[in-house]
């Protein structure tokens, strides 16, 4: 603990933690880049004076070493996957191989302009075609587009494909169904595609309630259901093939949210279960780095009947004569500029080529093994709301802990930081009160998992013996609990001099 305000400890901390906003560290006249020697005659800007400005006021003035130090200090305030377990359920925080970073920075990838003639981008186009084919094989689907920039963007693309296909059949229909355990992006995507959204309840296993689905689908206005498999409880939808059959019988389609594909890879294929369209989060299953919130990449895989509607452009042609094709009369159009988050696609391609079929299956199985190992070692310590077998992640709740000690999920999560761990996903899925969703992934060692289990057990013990210690956690982080209420009541969203 720190000393009283103004005491020696507080002073030491104040000096040690000195880090202003980049604007506060700015000093007039310093510069982080040298002036550009101009090899052409200077020329005044062409536009009318009233729409010109001299300079952008407020931008900082710092030397290169100061900028490097500023951002290095900032970086040290972040947790990262290379520091320890990052068990965010549904996020698949696995190790990001270093060779991927090397690959994406090769000048032959990083410095290729998107409007380079096709003949001068054959390597890029080959990689795109290759990755499409790898992902089609892995998912058991017929065709893939790599354009979507993230998972939610993939969802939107997928639902627009369904809409276009149904419209071509003469009836776009009105409703998208989502399970009550769905990610928030699913209902948001459905309404962003012009559909109404309705929830289908989960049954006692945590799976889609088939009877409810049958009743709803029979009405005839359902365009599709969006389902995550394994779902957000980490439970495999045992009836997934039946879900697909019910939907198809009623003229609807099955969209699979592939956020949890890490549990299926090399083990089972969505395409074989009757899925019509799905997205893959390449930044989850295929190990492209999360970047503090992106960039992601959200490949979309479809069955043959949706292929004509895939967004433009499409890569076509044989190796050596690849080209980007735009002449696709039934396509939904464009979903973004250019062709996708190519730099992320390079990394995902490198990942699949490194692992091969055996390595991917081994990864999937190990992810499931790790989650179940954590589950077994924490059963009885935390309440397990659904006893169905877990796959890549397990969901606990704070029910018993709160009843016995008053300590809630949020407190436990914050206290984990003092033990050097990133907390799991908390308060999701919404159908579990006080949920703690743990996804360790396959790249964690037994020792790391054991240490995490030990930390959770220790905190549960503290909840009994010293609840205030837990309730006031974290104690060892760069900042303590932050006033989120104050931030939302009086938003301060930018620096002002």
């Amino acid at each position: 603990m720190t000393g009283a305000a103004g005491g020696p400890e507080a002073r030491a901390r104040r000096i040690r933690d000195r880090l202003g906003l980049v604007f506060e560290e700015s000093r007039p006249g310093r510069r982080g880049v040298d002036p550009i020697p101009l090899d052409v005659p200077p020329a005044p800007p062409e536009a009318e004076p009233e729409i010109l400005r001299e300079r952008v006021e407020g931008l900082p003035e710092l030397s290169e070493p100061e900028v490097v130090r500023h951002f290095t200090r900032l970086s040290r305030l972040n947790y990262s996957i290379d520091r320890g377990l990052y068990p965010l359920g549904s996020c698949t925080m696995k190790y990001n191989p270093k060779v991927h970073e090397w690959a994406a920075r090769l000048p032959g990838f990083a410095r290729v302009h998107p409007y380079s003639p096709d003949a001068l981008a054959q390597g890029c186009l080959d990689l795109l075609a290759g990755l499409e084919s790898l992902l089609a094989t892995i998912t058991g689907m017929d065709a893939v587009t790599l354009q979507p920039a993230a998972g939610a963007h993939g969802e939107l693309t997928g639902i627009l494909l369904i809409r276009a296909c149904l419209e071509a059949r003469g009836d776009a229909r009105k409703v998208i169904l989502v399970p009550d355990s769905a990610h928030g992006t699913n209902p948001a995507t459905a309404s962003f595609s012009g559909y109404a959204v309705e929830e289908i309840p989960s049954d006692a296993r945590g799976c889609v309630d088939l009877d409810a689905l049958r009743r709803r689908a029979a009405v005839g206005d359902v365009a599709a259901m969006m389902a995550t498999n394994p779902n957000t409880l980490g439970v495999f939808e045992e009836d997934i093939a039946e879900v697909a059959r019910v939907l198809h019988e009623n003229g609807a389609m099955l969209y699979m949210d592939g956020a949890n594909m890490n549990a299926m890879i090399g083990i089972t294929r969505p395409g074989d279960a009757g899925v019509d369209v799905m997205h893959l989060n390449l930044h989850k299953t295929f190990s492209t780095p999360h970047g503090g919130g992106g960039p992601g990449a959200g490949a979309v895989a479809v069955k043959r009947h949706l292929e004509p509607f895939l967004p433009v452009p499409r890569v076509s042609g044989a190796p050596g004569a690849r080209r980007l094709g735009y002449d696709r009369p039934q396509a939904i159009g464009r979903v973004r500029s250019f062709y996708g988050n190519f730099g992320m696609l390079v990394r995902a391609y490198a990942y699949i080529r490194s692992l091969g079929a055996e390595g991917l299956r081994e990864s999937g199985l190990t992810a499931i093994l790790n989650a179940n190992y954590v589950r077994r070692r924490l059963e009885g310590v935390l309440h397990l709301p659904y006893s169905s077998p877990s796959y890549h992640e397990v969901v606990f709740s704070d029910r018993d802990l709160e009843a016995q000690t008053g300590i809630k999920t949020l407190d436990l999560a914050k206290r984990l930081m003092d033990y050097g761990f990133h907390p799991p996903t908390v308060y999701f899925p919404l159908i579990v009160h006080g949920a703690l969703m743990i996804e360790p992934t396959e790249t964690e060692s037994r020792e790391e998992l054991d240490a995490f289990v030990e930390a959770v057990r220790a905190i549960v013990e503290e909840a009994r013996t010293d609840p205030d210690l837990v309730r006031s956690a974290p104690h060892t982080t760069p900042v303590r609990r932050l006033d989120e209420t104050g931030a939302a009541r009086k938003p301060k969203l930018r620096f002002r001099p």
Binding site: Y427, E484, T485, A488, R489
Partner: protein, 125 residues
């Protein structure tokens, strides 16, 4: 304890009728469920609503809740103080933190809502 002279909805709004005017708010129970309130979206003056229609929204840091009109009418006044100080809803939901006033289409309509005893039974007091 909830005010005896108000009428209540199952969605935790209250209405106090005085002549042709109804004052609308949310209950103390509702503000407790929401936690720290950070933002209130108020209806526009002059808007006509029917019972059950959305008047606005109330937000905490991690939740959004709609305010349903307990009765039908035209919005005659809104409590502008809530725009700047939404936390008033946490402190005085039955009093100074009323949401809006309606010119009632049918002053008798509120009679169909829960009375104080029925509402207290609903929230388990």
């Amino acid at each position: 304890m909830v005010p005896k002279n108000f009428r209540y909805t199952k969605e935790h709004e209250w209405v106090a009728v005085e002549g042709g005017t109804g004052t609308v708010g949310i209950t103390d129970f509702a503000q407790q469920q929401l936690g720290d309130i950070v933002y209130v979206e108020l209806p526009e003056v002059g808007r006509s609503v029917i019972a059950g229609e959305t008047l606005g929204t109330i937000e905490s840091v991690k939740a959004v809740s709609e305010i349903y009109s307990p009765v039908g009418g035209t919005v005659s006044e809104v409590n502008g103080a809530l725009a700047d100080s939404p936390e008033k809803l946490n402190h005085d939901p039955h009093g100074s933190a009323w949401i809006c006033r309606l010119t009632l289409s049918d002053p008798a309509e509120a009679g169909g809502l829960l009375d104080a005893a029925a509402y207290e039974a609903l929230i388990g007091k």
